[in-house]
Structures are given as C-alpha cells and as structure tokens.
Symmetry: C2
Subunit: 133 residues, 2 copies
DNA sequence: ATCTCTGCAAATGTTTTGCATCAGC
DNA sequence: GCTGATGCAAAACATTTGCAGAGAT
C-alpha cells in the first residue's frame, strides 16, 4: 500500500507536533489535561482550548481514537492500536491498555436486542499501585 | 440479622416518595433528567437540584446504584438488582439491563495488574428501535 | 499576503452549593 | 418549634466557541 500512514491535514505547528509526540510516547490513553501537562513541556504557552481542538482534529483524521471509560471524561490514544480493552486503576486513576479480547462475549441478551459491539473495562490496581502497598 | 432492609434515613417527603416510585417502576437505569421528568408528574414543582441531592442520598442508603456507561452521564437504578450488565441503544440512547454475566472474564491481563471487577457494556439497537426500522 | 491556527476570554451545559423558606416529626 | 428538605439562583467545573492577532505556507 502506498497510503501515507498519517493522513494529516492542515498546517504543521509546534503545538500539533508536541501533542502528536506526547501520544506517540504515552503508551496508554490520556486525558486532555494529561496531554496539556505533557505538551506544555515542549510548548509552554499551549492552551487547553488548543488541546481540545487538536485532539478532536486528530480523531477525525484517525490518528487518535476516543477511549470512554464508565464515569470518566474521555481519554484518547493512538488509533492504530488493534482491538483491545482497558484497565482502570482505582488507586491512581490512570487508564491502561489490555491487549486482546475474550472474543465471543456470549452474553445471552434478551430477545429483540441487536448487539453490534461490546466494551469491557477491568478495574483494580495497576502494577505500580499494587506494588506500592 | 435484624437489620431493616431499607435503611432509609431522613424525613419522608412527597419529593422523595415520588422519586422512589419512579425508580420502582422504571425497570431500567435512569438519568437525573429522566427522573425529573417522570417525578414532576407527581410533584410538579420539583427542582433538578432536589433530584441530584435525593438520588445521591439514595445511593448512600444503598437504595440506588450508579450506572456509569462509557461516554455517558451517570444513570441510576435499584441497588437490589443482582450482578448484571448493560445495553446502550445507539438509536434512542436509552440504557437497559442485561441479566447475567459471562462470568470468568479471563482477559489475560499483563503481569502486575490486579483485577478486582469488570464492566461489560453492549451496544446496538433495543427491541423498539430494531423493530422500528 | 493569505488564511489557518492559537491563546485568551466569554459562552455553554451540567452538576453542586448557599440560603431563605417550607414542612415533617 | 426544631431541624432537615426544598426551590431558586448563583457557583463550580469541564468543554466549546468567538475573535483578533500570530504564524505557516
């Protein structure tokens, strides 16, 4: 395939480069605030509005995907990751990726319901927090 | 045990009776707005602040449980329901209960993660919406 | 030079809170 | 009559938007 991996649109700015770099290095879903904090190290004057706008743009371009966990504000991660689920640490509140999927989630749904997708979220303690105590 | 099943605290008011009745008849998780709408039929002057305060109180009393679906504001349902999962209709946006659980969710979590709980959410079309089109 | 992107501040939408009044006990 | 509960409006938060100026092409 000759497709460009990142079908990035619009102009190239230091803010966008910074935000892109943050996600490339994150390895886990990030909230807008986490993005702002990390990207500010490269572009100190970065504003939260730019983070929201840029992240939304990246989602449209399929560079990022939205990660919605129950009761949590949206996080974002690289869209190129394959199907997987998430782990939410009850101690530090961070989200992590869990590779793979139990597949065939045969929850016997009541008659009439048409299931199109599923989402699984695990709760507990991440390695750092489990070790810590 | 001699504990009272409903350890209801505080005074009995028409507002609380109305909200309690709404949940007893709902049969599915409700958002604060849905509660307000339904309970207003019994207590027209009911305010949204009272709904939020009362629902939160009911959760503390374990009469209600919070139902958090990804990317959705919290909903609430009777706490006495046994372990189950939820279905979110992409057409009408309503939430439904799905009895049972696939159990042993053996997602092979990476080393170090301690799993304490899991949440499964199914997405698709509810009976009404599936039938409608 | 053009036109998009950015930062700031104001707007929005939702949930929470302060307070005077109302009502259960 | 006390004291907790309610309704209203203001406050708090998080996210979005308007706009003038900065910066990429």
């Amino acid at each position: 395939m000759i497709r460009d991996e990142s079908n990035v649109k619009g102009r190239r700015t230091s803010q966008r480069d910074a935000i892109r770099a943050v996600f490339d290095q994150a390895g886990r879903p990030l909230s807008p605030q986490e993005v702002l904090l990390a990207a500010k190290k490269r572009v100190p004057r970065l504003g939260i509005a730019t983070v929201y706008r840029t992240v939304k743009g990246f989602v449209d371009e399929h560079f990022l995907a939205t990660v919605d966990l129950p009761g949590e504000p949206p996080r974002y991660e690289l869209a190129k990751l394959s199907h997987h689920h998430h782990f939410h640490c009850r101690s530090c509140g961070k989200a992590f990726d869990i590779p793979g999927c139990p597949g065939h989630m045969r929850l016997t749904t009541p008659a009439g319901f048409v299931v199109e997708e599923h989402e699984i979220v695990l709760y507990g303690r991440c390695p750092d927090c489990a070790k810590g105590k």
